[in-house]
Amino acid sequence: MGRKVKKRIRIRKKKEETLADIYERKLIEALKELRVPALMLHFVLTTGTLGYMLLSDGDFIDAFYMTVITIGTIGFGEVAEGSDTPVGRMFTSLLALSGIGIFTTSVTMVVRLFFKEDIINLFRTLRMLREIENLKGHYIVCGYNRTSAWLVNMLKKRKIEFVVIEADERALKYIQDHQIKYFIIEDPYKKHVLKAGGIERAKGMIVNLQDDAKNIAVIATARLLRPDKDEFLIYSFASTEGTAQKLEELGANKALVPDRLLASRLASYIFHPESAYISSLFDRLAFGEESDIDIMEIRIFEGSPLAGKRLMDLDLRKNMKVSVIAVRKADGKLEVGITGMTQIEEGDTLIMFGEHKNLRKAKKFLESKVEA
């Protein structure tokens, strides 16, 4: 009776390949091409050195030197002992005939690999991808054009970390000129590219690909990875109002139509000519162009110990040197008649005005109250 042989079948789950893995593979592939020229050169050097060593009775230094000056076409003369004999000259001739070709071919191949295959850039990209892995709470900017350039400039001023993802290699020059620290030249709608950009740890994303279809693809992919709209913010550009609405339905927190935005901003100047300074100030504040002062929103969540307190109890103006200028109620209504007696309620959003550092302090203070 034959024995039953049970064959164990192991099913291994294939590890998802990251962008760093792909670049590492590219680098290894490029390095692999170094093998043949290096081995060719190694073979000639070994043959030459051993040959001259035999001729010079084991003098390695002279033998190696003689081989190098022969195959390198330097030819300073017959420095190795025994190389000026008929046998030595015959050996030198053979070495030169085979070695010079191998030497020049190998050097050309190595130089081509380093410059054409861009091994150095691959190294840099890998290092950058490893650095991106350490980012947290950053923003991802998909698409690099003039608008994105302005945007990242503002993020830089505020010391907010960001990663630019751009598919077009032509943008690389501008990205480098603008001293962008982290960038990925890949299609942003690919899952592994967004993961390489640190989407799992990022705070938000700006989608500006100048093509609605591409914007949709990126937003859909991003929302698959980060479905929560409150935890991960997506701001997108759209060509029309209709598309903007669709993008918001699809997952964008806000989709902006650049033409409309520009028109609104110009209109605000036309409508308020007599208060141009204030209009401009609020405008600059809203668009982050005012360097010292800013507006900040702080939401009072359900169950917050701040709920039920009056603004005078907190005395933010005296303690933190910030002013609560308005309160947005849970139903969206904006309350502007703020006094010390105004009571904070659950779901309110305090709109505070003040200097950056004071606003940060106030935020920290209010958040610590919540945590306590």
């Binding site: 093998r35 290096a38 070994t46 050195t49």
Partner: protein, 113 residues
């Protein structure tokens, strides 16, 4: 038959055997051949991405970094120091051979599966 494996394993073994032969009978020719075999073994391992292959590359580099100084020290006249460095290289080469055997066994199992 895998030509690449034959070449790589040949040079891994050759690196160890020439290394031992230099230790047993130290002479300049043996030393140059040992260095050459070690460098060839290292070059053949460039571009291997598997874990064991990178370990093989590391052990080969260790052997090279023992033998290249040994080569210069030997021709400077300090034979004892060169031989002791060659002992170090031999240890690294033994590790290389062990790793090569493990790799072969693992790939045989993988083929059977």
């Amino acid at each position: 038959m895998r030509l690449k494996h034959i070449f790589t394993d040949f040079f891994i073994l050759m690196a160890l055997t020439t290394n031992i032969s230099f230790i047993v009978n130290p002479n300049p020719y043996e030393l140059v051949i040992t260095v050459s075999a070690n460098l060839a073994a290292t070059l053949l391992k460039i571009g291997e991405s598997k874990v064991l292959s990178t370990e093989l590359m590391t052990s080969s580099l260790v052997a090279d970094l023992h033998l290249i100084p040994a080569l210069f020290i030997y021709f400077m006249g300090n034979h004892e120091e060169a031989i002791s460095l060659a002992y170090g290289a031999a240890a690294a080469n033994i590790v290389s051979v062990i790793l090569a055997i493990i790799r072969t066994v693992l790939s045989t199992f993988a083929e059977e599966e």
